[in-house]
């Protein structure tokens, strides 16, 4: 182990503190992570684009500002992996799609700009399911990322690249987007903390839209506090996003430090368990609930009778919005252009480009959405799904009368194998069964590791859900669970992730 790999294993909070104290420079920290990426990403394949020069330049700027005595933010100098769905003026933005391969946006997303403004060092852009449609990164046009716990398994998706990067110590922090579970599910299967903030709590400006009414940017990190620090840096009202909430960011870092659940009412959602859930997932989940009780929480069971309709409603609403959002990829102004041989009409070029540029899952959803919005079908599909959405929001409202937070497994199974579900969209969709209701209602939700499933030794996620703008409650509960489990285990969970070591053994080279 070299000294640079030591640096990569620090928490983001410790990295920031060390930079602030002048113990290490941002350049050293960035170099350590770039080295780690160079060593390991051939196996993990988390990054689509590594911006070594840009990252080092940003790090140097931080070091200079610190040297000049400037007060720096809580994450200044800390590296980060950015999902390739946010626009970056100095890096390509592909959304994991051939149709945008090589596209360099002329502007930074609000989140990109906020990260830069806070002195966070963006290492590069991470892999994702094409246009964030998927739960494994296998729908990326540029190949799947791997789960650092077991390289034959998926890192989850769609924010699988960011999750894999953070779990592989290629970056201490990642940004993902969560439309149906795309932050929480990869966090769960990679053993990370992943947060879907309240819808409107984090800006969508410059986030290439999948489903506008559901898309929510959020943090991925190895600790609850790190996630909270990133949450605070990236969030807050954005006048460029009309759906952005004009409200103060909930005090999530303070909540993570408080890490106390005494007297908190915890509701276990009855409907999010049972058939289809792996036994190891349920075992660890039930233990986590018991743990919360031990820590002083008041646990009750709550019923959310309409959650069962969440998945079908989601697969009408999200594709409907996507069919419209993705219409702009037409070869006219940017991105791929196919068939423009001087004889084809604009309409033909559009058609040929979209046929060549979109992958199968994206096409499937565009067709689903186009159908659901069609004249004569709108009421039966899109309209009905919106009614379900209202009912699910009411279920949440009723449940939050009885409980301060709700809990469930984050995803029904641990990380599945690469290729296992690619030919079975329904099986793939089920990975988001527990996370979708939170997106439909727009409230806050988080996944925190709650141990390894006995049968496969892979991480299990505990999902915590809180009312709109009560994001801080998530962090209180998650930090309490994290502290108790780390103490019981004696070390952080990710110390047990040895997929890369095993790969290294197989390759006959040291990758860690």
């Amino acid at each position: 182990m070299t000294s640079s790999t030591d640096l990569t294993r620090l928490t983001a909070a410790d990295m920031a503190a060390a930079v602030a104290a002048g113990e290490i420079s941002a350049v050293e920290l960035t170099t350590a992570h770039l080295t780690r990426i160079a060593e390991t990403d051939v196996h993990v394949r988390a990054f689509l684009h590594v911006a070594a020069d840009g990252a080092l330049a940003a790090a140097r700027a931080i070091d200079e500002r610190r040297a000049a005595g400037e007060a720096l933010g809580p994450l200044a100098g800390v590296p980060l992996a950015l999902k390739d769905v946010f626009t970056t003026a100095d890096m390509p933005t592909t959304c994991g799609s051939k149709i945008l391969a090589g596209w360099q946006p002329p502007y930074d997303a609000t989140i990109t700009a906020r990260l830069r403004g806070a002195g966070v060092v963006i290492l590069g852009k991470t892999n994702m399911d094409e246009f964030a449609m998927g739960s494994s990164t296998e729908n990326s046009a540029f190949g799947a990322s791997r789960n650092p716990w077991d390289l034959s398994r998926v890192p989850g998706g769609s924010s699988g690249g960011s999750a894999a990067a953070v779990a592989a110590f290629e970056a201490p922090l990642g940004i993902g987007t969560d439309t149906g579970g795309s932050i929480r599910q990869p966090a769960a299967v990679c053993g990370l903390v992943g947060v879907k903030p309240t819808y409107g709590g984090s800006s969508r400006y410059g986030l290439v839209a999948f489903a506008s009414s559901l898309d929510t940017p959020g943090p991925l990190a190895r600790t609850v506090l790190d996630a909270a620090l990133l949450h605070e840096v990236m969030s807050g009202h954005d006048p460029c996003d009309s759906t952005s909430l004009d409200a103060p960011v909930p005090p999530v870092a303070a909540a993570a430090r408080r890490a106390d659940v005494a007297g908190l009412r915890v509701g276990v959602v009855k409907e999010l368990a049972g058939d289809g859930y792996a036994s190891g997932v349920l075992t660890r989940f039930n233990e986590a609930v018991e743990l919360l009780e031990t820590l002083g929480a008041k646990v009750t069971e709550v019923s959310c009778p309409h959650f069962g309709y969440g998945l079908p409603a989601y697969y009408l609403i999200a594709p409907s919005e996507a069919s419209s959002n993705l219409a702009r990829f037409d070869a006219m102004r940017y991105g791929l252009r196919t068939g423009d041989d001087g004889t084809a009409s604009a309409e033909e070029v559009m058609s040929l480009t979209r046929a060549a540029g979109f992958g199968a899952e994206v096409k499937r959803r565009i067709m689903l959405g186009t159908y659901a919005l069609s004249s004569g079908y709108y009421d039966a599909y899109y309209g009905k799904a919106q009614q379900v959405r209202t009912l699910i929001a009411r279920d949440f409202a009723a449940a939050f009368e009885q409980a301060d937070v709700l809990v469930s497994p984050t995803t029904p199974t641990t990380a599945f194998s690469l290729g296992e579900r690619v030919d079975d969209p329904m099986a793939m969709y089920l990975a988001d069964l527990c996370t979708i209701p939170g997106n439909l209602a727009g409230n806050a939700a988080l996944s925190v590791p709650c141990g390894l499933a006995p049968e496969d030794g892979l991480p299990v996620g505990l999902q915590i859900m809180a009312p709109v703008l009560a994001d801080d409650r998530l962090y209180r509960v998650a930090a309490a669970v994290e502290a108790a489990l780390d103490q019981r285990r004696g070390h952080p969970l990710l110390d047990d992730a040895n997929g890369l070591e095993r790969a290294g053994d197989a390759d006959g080279e040291a990758v860690r």
Partner: protein
């Protein structure tokens, strides 16, 4: 594409047998400073693709933010059209692919328009026709395609197309009328009168420059006809690309003539979009209903609903300016000019100018004459709107006053006008600088008259013999001698006096 001209029935015959129903959809580009959903300026005629940003180019990741001024303007229009203003309504996406539409959907309104159910009174001759307003909604404009090569300037046959996105995202208000039945042979005139009235309304509300030639007011005209006395209306066609007031009238007329021929032959009118051609005054077929797009409208998820507060709407309503019809009635009463003059002034865009000139002290008749003849001619020669001539109503009023007082003849007044228009200063300054005042000095005038008589004794003799008409030649000589600055009537009087024919003038 050339199509054989369709058969038609002469208009008078057509309207004798068939009853037309018309409807109009009018798009008005709002004159807000910035675009509908971004901060780009709303300029006309700028270099292509210079007034654009990620939002109006629809770049991936960009999001719209509603321009509050555009909502205010739309409410102003709605209130002026006697509409109800929704207390809660949403934007919707209208989905269809077209190269000049950056997102391949247009942010518009669907089943929740901002303003509904109003009316506009339109004067047709001495009659007033009340046109029902179905809705007024807000949307964004598209870019503009320029098809290069090919004969028609249309996309078919073009070598390539260029798109200018400066117009993309300019706020657009669509005013949709209810169907207007019962106007009979007046249908084309009513359609034109409605668009004229709407244009004047928009102008007075100061929400748009409403220049049809620049496309800031665009009109789609729906026309159907049915057997006179029939309870059921006919199938309608929607004629697009109707871009002048005259074309509105011609389009309705031509559709009535065409549809009548179809029905006469026992055929059925196809519900379709038709294109109007300025050169022929006729329409040709576009998309039929069978090929019509399914726009897959759904509520725009990137925007929050519009919820105009009742107090705000009330405030906008109480700040509405005097509307054109009320203003016309008031001005007519104040000016005391006949209805036909008011119409002529309105058509020439001179009503406000004349009213202001009269307010500055000019007699209404004179003010009307100056603006409708001399000044209208000069504006026409310069190819600009009357209001853009470099002369103010106050200056015109001053010229009227100088004529009234006898200090200027009409001829001299026209020269003063030239001077003012040429930027030589106020009427008084021009009079002074050019020395244009009427020669009223009796001595100077008398000398000139004597000189003229002396120079032409034969003419003078004729006049003395009673041929009073012959004095005209002498008057001309005196006028020439005084550089045109004498009052011709006074000169004639003086000549006759001198030649013993006083009282013969």
């Amino acid at each position: 594409m050339t199509q054989a001209p369709e058969r038609t029935v002469p208009f008078e015959e057509a309207v004798a047998r068939y009853e037309p129903v018309i409807g109009l959809e009018t798009h008005v580009e709002l004159g807000t400073r910035s675009k509908m959903f971004c901060g780009c300026p709303t300029v006309f005629g700028a270099e292509p693709n210079t007034a654009v940003c990620p939002v109006c180019l629809g770049l991936p990741g960009s999001l719209p933010v509603t321009n509050k001024a555009a909502i205010e303007y739309t409410i102003r229009i709605g209130l002026a059209l006697n509409c109800s203003i929704a207390s809660w309504c949403r934007f919707a996406r209208k989905n269809y692919f077209y190269p000049d539409m950056p997102k391949n959907y247009q942010i518009s309104q669907y089943d929740e328009p901002l303003c509904t159910d109003g009316w506009l009174d339109v004067e047709v001759g001495v009659e007033i026709v009340r046109i029902g307003i179905e809705r007024v909604h807000l949307e964004e404009d598209t870019g503009k395609s320029l098809h290069v090569g090919g004969a028609t300037g249309r996309i078919h046959g073009a070598d390539y197309s260029l798109v200018d996105y400066n117009r993309a995202g300019i706020p657009l208000v669509e005013v949709v009328t209810k169907p207007v039945p019962g106007t009979g042979s007046l249908a084309p005139v009513v359609a034109r009168a409605y668009v004229t009235e709407l244009r004047d309304l928009m102008r007075s509300l100061d929400v748009s420059d409403v220049r049809m030639e620049q496309g800031s007011l665009r009109c789609d005209v729906n026309t159907s006809i049915a057997q006179a006395g029939s309870a059921q209306w006919g199938k309608r066609t929607e004629t697009k690309n109707v871009n002048s007031l005259r074309s509105v009238e011609r389009a309705v007329r031509s559709e009535i003539e065409r549809q009548a021929a179809i029905l006469d032959a026992g055929g059925r009118v196809v519900q379709e979009t038709r294109h109007f051609h300025e050169n022929t005054g006729t329409t040709t077929a576009g998309r039929s209903k069978e090929e019509a797009q399914d726009y897959r409208y759904f509520p725009e998820p990137d925007l929050v609903p519009m919820e105009p507060a009742p107090e705000w709407v009330e405030e906008i309503g109480s700040a509405l300016p005097e509307l054109p019809s009320a203003r016309r009635a008031r001005l007519q009463a104040e000016l005391g000019l006949p209805e036909s003059d008011i119409t002529a002034l309105r058509n020439a865009g001179a009503l406000d100018l004349v009213a202001e000139t009269v307010a500055q002290g000019a007699p209404p008749e004179q003010a009307r004459n100056w603006w409708l003849t001399e000044l209208a001619r000069r504006a026409n020669e310069a190819g600009i709107a009357l209001a853009l001539l470099p002369i103010t109503p106050a200056q015109v009023a001053r010229i009227c006053a100088l004529v009234e007082s006898g200090e200027l003849s009409n001829r001299l007044a026209r020269q003063v006008l030239d001077g003012v228009l040429a930027g030589e200063g106020s009427p008084d300054e021009v009079v002074a600088a050019r020395g244009l005042a009427v020669v009223t000095d009796a001595g100077v005038l008398a000398a000139a008259v004597d000189e003229a008589i002396a120079a032409k004794p034969d003419v003078a003799a004729k006049v003395r013999d009673g041929k009073v008409q012959a004095a005209g030649g002498l008057v001309g000589d005196v006028m020439r001698a005084t550089g045109g600055k004498a009052d011709a009537a006074a000169v004639k009087q003086l000549i006759l006096q001198r030649l013993g024919q006083a009282g013969q003038a």
